[in-house]
Point group: C2
Chain length 249, copies 2
């Protein structure tokens, strides 16, 4: 039995998220169908984490076990030929037996893309959240600093998930405007040892309140301390969110 | 009677091109429907030029005449509210009476985006042509220089259009690789006083033969001199093409 590790990019627009669901088109579903077509055997895959409907990935990591003897280059090429055009296998390697994309992950980075131009950008409508007010990116960046470090992030966790603990460590969080000619796009980048359900989208929804001057820069830190989801801003919509990369020991 | 000049951006993926056609969804069709909804009067629009199915615009110019007294800001806002999310009015101004987007255009710029990474880029599948071989961008740039200036561009004109003359003046043509992290994307930019049918796509299909070393750098100049469409490379697919801007006196 071999363990294969894939790095996937996908445009999540057309999918009901990562996880297999009956009667829905999911990323896990199309990937597992492609693997079965290649190996002839139904195969369960594990991702570093689920992504929700409409959320994208630049570097999702997926593992699966197989008895197949195909070289990894063949896996990559054959899966890319089989997968739809909005999913791509960026790399395929053989991992240590038993390596698991979710359990072995030590760090993940997400990006959230905002657009604050006065007129909609037709090319980014599936890949950014259009906020119809100019955002103060420096105020958002300073406010975000309060979220760095190890905290109980309950205020940034949507209900519906059951977790042993809401404590996570944010190693890096930044808010930057992209260079010209894309200066109407902002990137929120968050790197952490793990993420609660909707955590990045709740953080972004809260930082946007600072960016549009509806709340002071001190507010996201106060929301964090409240350990209560209702204290924070809205959950930002899914289309701006990208899973950028996953790190392993 | 007033003449209104609009600058439009659109994602052409979902459209059967600019021009109104029965039973097809076209950009002119959705724009004219939006104007009629706003003014109550069926209104014919003129674009700087037609774009084909799947071709995009960053700065298409459109004019129309109207008896409406709405301020131009109201036109812009109301049209954006009415238009689908893949079309946007970037600006609306009142032009000199009788100004015409096509007849008065003196110069246009098109961009063609190529992608030569080994694995497909899921986010650019509607906005670039994926060439499955590394392209020699410097060779393409040098070869393109032969097309600058005033020439009979018959070798880069698809049949189907009837024009008085195939002579056009190319003011600027360049092939550049985008800076990191987008270094697997190339941009062909062409500025001219006018374009023949499929001219940019025929030029790109020809330059790609140089880029992938199937033809020498001297070939595009020889194709030009042949004044015969069958002498050149394939017509590049529509999804890489963007009308960037249109200039007026």
């Amino acid at each position: 039995m071999r363990t294969i590790k894939l790095i996937l990019a996908y445009d999540g627009t057309a999918y009901a998220g990562w996880q297999v669901q009956p009667e829905r088109t999911t990323l896990q579903g199309v990937l597992e169908a492609a693997i079965e077509k290649l190996t002839g055997v139904p195969t369960r895959t594990a991702a570093s984490g689920r992504t929700d409907s409409g959320v994208h990935a630049l570097g999702q990591v997926v593992t699966f076990n197989t008895e197949s003897h195909h070289p990894v280059e063949v896996f990559q090429r054959a899966l890319n030929a089989e997968l739809p055009p909005d999913v791509a296998v960026l790399s395929a390697i053989e991992a240590a037996p038993g390596f698991h994309a979710r359990r072995d992950a030590v760090r993940k980075r997400y990006r959230y893309v905002l657009y604050d131009g006065p007129v909609r950008d037709v090319f980014s409508r599936r890949y950014a959240w259009h906020v119809h007010q100019p955002l103060d990116v420096d105020a958002m960046h300073r406010a975000a600093a309060a979220l760095a470090g190890t905290h109980d992030f309950s205020s940034f966790e949507s209900s519906g998930a059951e977790r042993a603990s809401s404590v996570r460590t944010v190693y890096d969080i930044s808010v930057r405007r992209e260079p010209a000619p894309r200066e109407e796009f902002l990137r929120v980048e968050v790197e952490a040892n793990g993420f609660l359900y909707n955590m990045v989208r709740a953080i972004v929804g809260t930082l946007v309140e600072v960016g549009r001057k509806a709340r002071p820069e001190s507010w996201p830190g106060e929301v964090l301390e409240a350990t209560d989801r209702s204290a924070g801003g809205q959950t930002a919509p899914p289309q701006g969110l990208f899973l950028v990369e996953v790190e392993y020991p």
